[in-house]
C-alpha cells in the first residue's frame, strides 16, 4: 500500500521518488518483514518536502534524463541540507554512465537492476535502525522522570 506525503506519520522514513512505481513494489517485497514503510512520491520537490518533515530519512530517487540535472544539484547539497539523511539512486541501464557523477555528488548507492534490490533495502534498513526515534517509549519516559535524568546505560 502506498502512502502519500500528506497522510504519512513522521516515523515513516524511507522515501522513494520515481515515475512508475516499479522500484517501490520491489522494495516493499524486500522490506516486507522489516516493518519499514515505503513513502512513495513522484517528483523531487515532493521528496524534498517529505525530507524536511523527516530529515534523517533514507531517500531513493530514480534518475532519468529529465531530472538528472536537478537531482545532481540536490544530491550535491544533500549532506549539508540533511546531514542525518542518506540518498541512493536507481535508474534504467541507459543511465549507468552517470553512476560516478551521481556517486561523486553524494549518492551512497547506485543501482540499475530491479532484481538486485536486496543490498539497497539492507542499506536503508541499517540506516533507519541507526536513526533515533523522535518519541520516547513509556519506559523511557518513566526513567526520564527520575530527578537526576535518564539512565546512563
Amino acid at each position: 500500500m502506498s502512502s502519500s506525503p500528506s497522510n504519512t506519520s513522521s516515523s515513516t522514513r524511507l522515501i522513494v521518488c520515481e515515475g512508475s512505481g516499479q522500484w517501490s513494489i520491489g522494495l516493499r517485497n524486500e522490506l516486507a518483514s522489516t516493518g519499514v514503510r515505503v513513502w512513495e512520491c513522484r517528483s523531487l520537490p515532493e521528496a524534498w518536502d517529505a525530507l524536511r518533515q523527516t530529515p534523517a530519512a533514507f531517500v531513493i530517487v530514480e534518475a532519468v534524463r529529465e531530472n538528472l540535472d536537478n537531482l545532481l544539484r540536490r544530491a550535491a547539497w544533500f549532506s549539508r541540507d540533511f546531514p542525518h539523511g542518506r540518498i541512493a539512486v536507481v535508474a534504467q541501464r541507459n543511465m549507468a554512465r552517470f553512476e560516478w557523477l551521481l556517486r561523486e555528488a553524494g549518492a551512497v548507492h547506485f543501482l540499475t537492476s530491479p532484481r538486485r534490490l536486496a543490498p539497497l533495502a539492507g542499506l536503508a534498513v541499517r540506516h533507519l535502525a541507526g536513526v533515533p526515534l523522535p518519541s520516547q517509549t513509556m519506559v523511557q519516559r518513566i526513567w526520564a522522570s527520575l530527578p537526576w535524568g535518564p539512565s546512563e546505560t
Binding site: A76, P83, W100, L101, M138, P147
Partner: protein, 457 residues
C-alpha cells in the same frame, strides 16, 4: 592479411589527408585517434590527448589536458546510439572558441556502441550555436549543457580556501590537507561526526594533481555490508572510472568482512585507488582491541589529520557562520550581510554538540527566517536561547528519592495504562501485566487505585 593491413593503412592515409578535423572515441569515451587536421586544430598538446577520457567531472580546475578532453565530450544521447550534433569548445589565448561537431556512433553486433566518430566543423566561432539552430534533439543538448554547468558550479565548493578557520588546530589541519592533496598518500581525517571531515576529504581529492586525480567514490562503511563493499570494489575494477580516490566514510565502523574485502584489493601493486578515510577513533588504536586489521589500519593511516569539535574552535565560529551564510546567499537569492552582535554572542555561547553540521542547519534556518539584512538574535533557533538561559542558571542539586514511593508511582502508571488498554477489563489488564486477576486487584488496593474509582468493573 597483408591485403587487410593495406586497406587499414589506406583508410588512415585518407583520414590524415582530410581537411576536416576528426577524432574517434572508444566506448569508454577515451580518445583513440585524431587526424592531422584535428591535431593542427588542437595544437601541440593534441598527441597527449590520446587515451584521455572525455567525461563530465565534478572537480574544480581540471588539468589543462583533462579540461581540453572534457570540452570534447559528446552529448549523452550518442552513447545510446543516436547521431547528434553539438558544440565542442577549445581554448585559444584564454578565449573559448566553439566548433560544431557531428558525433556518429558505430555499433557492435550486440547493438552496443563500439566507438564514436566526431566530425568537426573547420571554422571557429566565438559564440555557441543558438538553441533554435541546433539540428538535433534539443533535449539531449540541454542535458549536455546542464551537466557542463553543474560541473562549473560545483567546482567552487571544494577549494582549499573554503576550509575556514584561524585557530591553530584548523591551520594545522589545512596545512596537512595541502600535503595530502599534493601526494597520493592515504589519509585519515579524524574528528567527531559533523566536524567537516568529509568536506576536507573532498577538498584534498579535488585539490590533488589533476593528472592522476580520477573520480571520488565515497563508501559509507557504517551502512554497507561486506557484499555491497565487494560489489562496489568489483564495479570499480572494471568500471569506466579508471582509478581515483576511495573515500571510506566512518572507516572505524567497517565490519570485519568489509575490512577483509578492502585488504584484499588495496595493497595490490598497480591499484589505481588512493584511500581517504573519515573516523571518530584513530584507526591505529583499534587493532589492539581486536576491532580492525592491523595491516589495513597502517595502510590507511599514512597521514592523520585531526579536526577538532566546533566547541574547541570557538574563535572560528563567526567566520564559519559568515561563510555558511554566504553559501545560502549564493544558493537562495536572498542576500544577507551577516549577523548582529547579539546573534554572534548567542552562537558563541552554544555548545554545538552537532559541530559544523549543526551550525550549517542553524544558519540555514536563520537565513530563511531573517527579515532584515542581518540575522538578529531572535531569528536564531529557539534552542540556542534556551541553552544560553540554562547555562546561566545554577546547577540543579541532586535530589534524593524515596525508592518505595517512586516504584509505586511506576507501578500505578503501568496498571493505569494496562487498564486503559484493556478498556477497564481487569482480567485482560492482568494478562497484559503478566498477573492473575486477584493479584492485580490486591495490588490496586495496596496502591490506592481502588479508591480512585478505576476498578469499577
Amino acid at each position: 592479411m597483408p591485403r587487410r593491413r593495406l586497406h587499414a593503412a589506406e583508410l588512415v592515409k585518407l583520414l590524415e589527408s582530410a581537411s576536416q578535423p576528426l577524432y574517434v572515441l572508444d566506448d569508454s569515451l577515451a580518445i583513440i585517434y585524431l587526424n592531422e587536421a584535428c591535431r593542427n586544430w588542437l595544437g601541440p598538446d593534441a598527441d597527449q590527448l590520446l587515451g584521455r577520457k572525455c567525461v563530465y567531472h565534478c572537480g574544480n580546475e581540471l588539468a589543462r589536458l583533462d579540461a581540453t578532453a572534457a570540452r570534447l565530450c559528446p552529448p549523452p544521447a550518442v552513447l545510446e546510439g543516436r547521431e547528434v550534433s553539438a558544440d565542442v569548445a577549445w581554448l585559444s589565448d584564454q578565449q573559448t572558441l566553439f566548433r560544431r561537431a557531428r558525433f556518429v556512433p558505430l555499433r557492435r553486433p550486440d547493438d552496443n556502441v563500439l566507438c564514436i566518430i566526431a566530425l568537426v566543423d573547420p571554422q571557429d566561432r566565438a559564440e555557441k550555436t543558438p538553441e533554435t539552430a541546433a539540428s538535433d534533439s534539443s533535449e539531449s543538448q540541454d542535458l549536455h549543457e546542464q551537466l557542463q554547468r553543474f560541473q562549473q558550479e560545483t567546482a567552487l565548493r571544494w577549494r582549499m580556501e573554503r576550509v575556514v578557520g584561524v585557530t591553530p588546530a584548523m591551520r594545522r589541519a589545512r596545512a596537512q590537507a595541502e600535503v595530502a592533496a599534493a601526494t597520493r598518500a592515504s589519509a585519515v581525517l579524524l574528528g567527531p561526526p559533523g566536524s567537516g571531515r568529509r568536506h576536507l576529504a573532498e577538498v584534498i581529492h579535488y585539490g590533488g594533481p589533476a593528472e592522476s586525480r580520477g573520480v571520488l567514490v565515497p563508501l559509507e562503511c557504517g551502512l554497507l555490508d561486506a557484499e555491497s563493499i565487494q560489489s562496489t570494489l568489483r564495479t570499480l575494477a572494471v568500471g569506466p572510472a579508471g582509478g581515483g580516490t576511495l573515500l571510506l566514510c566512518d572507516a572505524d565502523q567497517l565490519s570485519a568482512e568489509g575490512q577483509a574485502a578492502l585488504a584484499a584489493v588495496l595493497p595490490a601493486a598497480g591499484c589505481p585507488w588512493r584511500v581517504l578515510s573519515t573516523a571518530a577513533t584513530p584507526l591505529i588504536d583499534l587493532p589492539p582491541r581486536g576491532l580492525f586489521r592491523e595491516e589495513l589500519a597502517a595502510l590507511l593511516s599514512t597521514i592523520t589529520i585531526e579536526l577538532p569539535p566546533l566547541a574547541k574552535r570557538r574563535d572560528d565560529l563567526p567566520l564559519l557562520a559568515q561563510a555558511l551564510l554566504e553559501e545560502h546567499n549564493a544558493r537562495r537569492g536572498k542576500q544577507l550581510g551577516g549577523f548582529t552582535t547579539e546573534a554572534v554572542d548567542r552562537l558563541c555561547a552554544y555548545a554545538w554538540p552537532g559541530n559544523v553540521a549543526e551550525l550549517a542547519q542553524v544558519v540555514a534556518e536563520s537565513h530563511a527566517r531573517a527579515a532584515g539584512t542581518l540575522v538578529a538574535g531572535d531569528e536564531l533557533p529557539e534552542r540556542l536561547r534556551l541553552a544560553a538561559e540554562a547555562a546561566g542558571r545554577p546547577r540543579r542539586r541532586e535530589e534524593p528519592i524515596q525508592l518505595d514511593e517512586f516504584v509505586a508511582r511506576i507501578e500505578r502508571e503501568l496498571i493505569r495504562r494496562a487498564l486503559a488498554r484493556a478498556k477497564g477489563n481487569k482480567t485482560k489488564a492482568a494478562r497484559l501485566l503478566g498477573l492473575n486477576r486477584p493479584r492485580l486487584y490486591r495490588r490496586m488496593v495496596q496502591l490506592g487505585l481502588a479508591e480512585e474509582g478505576e476498578i469499577e468493573n
